[in-house]
């Protein structure tokens, strides 16, 4: 049985022929290329060729069509548009590109970026000339990951891919205090907060930018118009995720406490400095302790962070928050006694 050439190999043959023949190809040339030279009728093989041309264009190739006569077209690869210009990278930059690959591509740390990042890095390392690899290849000492919660990984992949492709998505979403409903969204960005991801995007039914917590998506994420292949929207250049969504670690909003001050003793003060130095004002005391000042904070977020340091912290203000926290700690303690 004859070898059945796979579509990717056939398309590679076509690209190879286009690259080698700078004057371009006419159908008679294409018909000699493996994958288009089998025994099927010419009409079928021409259709196959047109399909492949379409796929090559989807992959970013620019193939010019120049009619030579009514029935004869010359196909030429637009090399200036298709081939990467020479990119001169310093040895340090080459090393950085290599490190980026090692940091993200192993163990699928890049999540939804993986496929496109992989080919981008290979192209970059090929395009930076001979010896694109660093002279000394270091061990993989940094591993980065976009994944937060394992249960969100698939959703992150689906929505992240749609974001890269600029494709609209739809999904069943259960907002707080309401029934699940299908939402159709043009993804603008993903924001990591409170250990999980949030999608910010244009809600097409409501015609405004909305926030969706990935963990509240119930069911599958799918493309809103699966037959479409081209990008479906543009993100406004004025869009700023920080303005559309509070990315602060302790939250901000209507019911948040204001002018919050939390004291951390010297044993754990450096951890707070590691976490928030330069982000929030930290008042350093002579004994090595620090007071962190927050314009706004939700008590739940304060407790979530500070309770990992039992006995090493206290709320200094406002008094209402201090009372709230103490009551909450006492209530939890009482309930523990009752059940122990």
């Amino acid at each position: 049985m004859a070898y059945q050439i796979k579509p990717a190999e056939r398309q590679l043959n076509l690209l190879g022929a286009l690259l080698k023949n700078r004057d371009g190809l006419v159908w008679e040339d294409v018909a000699r290329v493996d994958g288009y030279n089998d025994d099927l009728p010419e009409k079928s093989r021409r259709k196959r060729f047109e399909r492949d041309l379409h796929e090559l264009r989807d992959a970013g190739l620019v193939i010019d069509r120049e009619p030579e006569s009514i029935s004869r077209i010359r196909y030429t690869l637009n090399r200036a548009a298709c081939l990467m210009p020479p990119i001169n990278l310093t040895p340090e930059q080459r090393l950085l590109v290599f490190r980026l690959g090692m940091a993200y591509l192993q163990d699928r740390g890049a999540g939804p970026l993986t496929r496109h990042l992989s080919t981008a890095l290979l192209k970059l390392q090929a395009g930076s000339g001979r010896e694109g690899l660093p002279a000394v290849i270091p061990p993989a000492f940094i591993r980065r990951s976009l994944n937060r919660r394992p249960a969100e990984a698939e959703l992150l992949d689906q929505i992240g891919n749609a974001l890269i492709e600029r494709r609209r998505v739809k999904f069943p979403y259960e907002a707080r205090q309401s029934e699940a409903a299908t939402r159709t969204v043009a993804p603008y960005c993903l924001v990591s907060r409170r250990g999980g991801w949030y999608l910010l995007g244009l809600d097409l039914d409501r015609q405004s930018v909305r926030t969706f917590r990935l963990s509240r998506i119930r069911g599958k994420v799918s493309l809103a118009t699966p037959d479409e292949t081209a990008p479906e929207y543009q993100i406004p250049t004025s869009f700023d995720p920080e303005q559309s969504f509070s990315t602060g670690a302790f939250g901000a909003g209507e019911n948040a406490f204001e002018d919050v001050a939390i004291h951390f003793d010297p044993d754990v003060a450096f951890i707070v400095q590691n976490d928030f130095g330069g982000t929030y004002p930290l008042q350093q005391h002579a004994d090595g302790s620090v007071t962190m000042h927050l314009a706004q904070a939700y008590p739940g977020e304060v407790l979530r962070y500070a309770c990992e340091f039992p006995g090493h912290w206290r709320v200094e203000g406002p008094p209402a928050l201090r009372t709230y926290v103490m009551q909450r700690l006492q209530a939890t303690l009482d309930s523990t006694k009752g059940r122990a």
């Binding site: 796979k6 990717a8 398309q11 022929a17 080698k20 000699r32 290329v33 493996d34 796929e55 992959a59 970013g60 548009a81 990467m84 020479p86 990119i87 930059q93 950085l96 980026l100 090692m102 192993q106 970026l113 993986t114 496109h116 992989s118 080919t119 890095l121 192209k123 390392q125 090929a126 395009g127 690899l133 061990p139 000492f141 940094i142 980065r144 919660r149 394992p150 249960a151 960005c189 924001v191 999980g196 250049t237 995720p241 990315t247 003793d265 044993d267 951890i271 590691n274 976490d275 979530r304 309770c307 039992p310 006995g311 206290r314 709320v315 926290v325 103490m326 939890t332 309930s335 523990t336």
Partner: protein
């Protein structure tokens, strides 16, 4: 993206980087050696008319095992890679931005420089994607202290220097000094960890980076451990390691929705709603200190069911925090 895009980019990479070993090609691409070999075999089916032997792409491996050098033949016309697609430009931009948020200052500067070079060099839609797109994956920026610490530790990993760290152990509730053999810096969930062999514990450990007060490389090098031993560490993060027992907790109906959102479909997590609307959650217990913080955050909306010994630890933790408030 098609197999075509993956094959052409690999072909350009291998043609441009003559003499690359299978091992380094694997590290550069994120592909396993077997996958690279399979793709190389696919490439040998490709060629151009008139299909004389020199018109087919071919390769040979010089040497054996993962150290074998890949030598591509008759593929020189693929040496110059295809231009970036907009999607590739975006993926690279997003990855560089993400990398930038948690890396030492020197590397951050290199990222800025590389981005500037790319913005200059790329053309068309790829260039627009790089220049005009807002951030795609927004994560908190690590503080300068953390970035400096990452630089110190990355140098120690790279140089295989035994390193002394001052570390706040949650389990012990105090600072201590340890000598470690640093292997890797890992981002797991929302935290960064130093994965290292700890001489005090006599085993590998994951140290939360923000809990390292200081790190100082000694002048002694350590021997790198065998690859197979790398994963042998106890994982202190929530989603890995070997849990000896389960944490069982009951949440009020008021916070039930939050619990369902956070834990639904999580590996190893069991959720059950009671008739009165409350929710029971059972998860593997890896780290009691994390569990105490988690439970305290919910206050009286949560009831610890098991393990019983954790109730005592939770009560002590609550008492000490209350005392700190009363003393202040």
């Amino acid at each position: 993206m098609s197999d075509f895009a993956a094959l052409t980019s690999l072909l350009s990479f291998l043609t441009s980087n003559r003499g690359v070993t299978l091992r380094d090609a694997s590290r550069a691409t994120g592909l396993k050696v077997k996958e690279i070999c399979a793709r190389l075999d696919s490439l040998t089916m490709c060629g151009v008319p008139p299909y004389s032997p020199n018109d087919y792409i071919s390769y040979r491996l010089i040497g054996s095992g993962e150290d074998a050098v890949i030598e591509m033949q008759f593929a020189q016309h693929f040496a110059r890679p295809l231009n970036f697609t907009p999607q590739e430009a975006l993926a690279l931009k997003y990855a560089l931005e993400h990398f930038h948020r948690g890396i030492d200052p020197e590397s951050a500067q290199q990222i800025d420089d590389l981005t500037a070079v790319l913005e200059q060099a790329l053309q068309g839609r790829a260039r627009e994607a790089l220049q005009e797109s807002p951030r795609g994956f927004v994560v908190p920026r690590q503080t300068d202290r953390m970035r400096a610490l990452m630089g110190t530790l990355a140098d120690a990993v790279d140089g295989r220097w035994i390193t002394e760290i001052e570390y706040f152990s949650s389990h012990r509730g105090k600072l201590g000094t340890r000598r470690v053999h640093p292997f890797q810096i890992l981002e797991i969930g929302t935290h960064f960890y130093l994965y290292a062999f700890c001489e005090l514990a006599g085993a590998t450990r994951h140290f939360r980076l923000e809990r390292i007060r200081s790190a100082r490389a000694t002048e002694t090098r350590f021997q790198r451990v065998a690859a197979g031993k790398r994963d042998a560490g106890r994982m202190t993060a929530l989603f890995g390691g070997h849990a000896r027992e389960n944490l069982r907790v009951r949440f009020s109906a008021k916070v039930g929705q939050d619990i369902v959102d956070d834990w639904r479909d999580s590996p190893g997590a069991l959720l059950e709603q009671l008739k009165d609307g409350r929710w029971d959650l059972e998860v593997p217990l890896y780290n009691p200190v994390w569990a105490i913080g988690f439970l305290t955050g919910f206050g009286q909306e949560v009831e610890l069911l098991a393990p019983t010994w954790l109730k005592q630890e939770l009560a002590e933790s609550l008492r000490s925090t209350l005392q700190a408030h009363q003393a202040g």
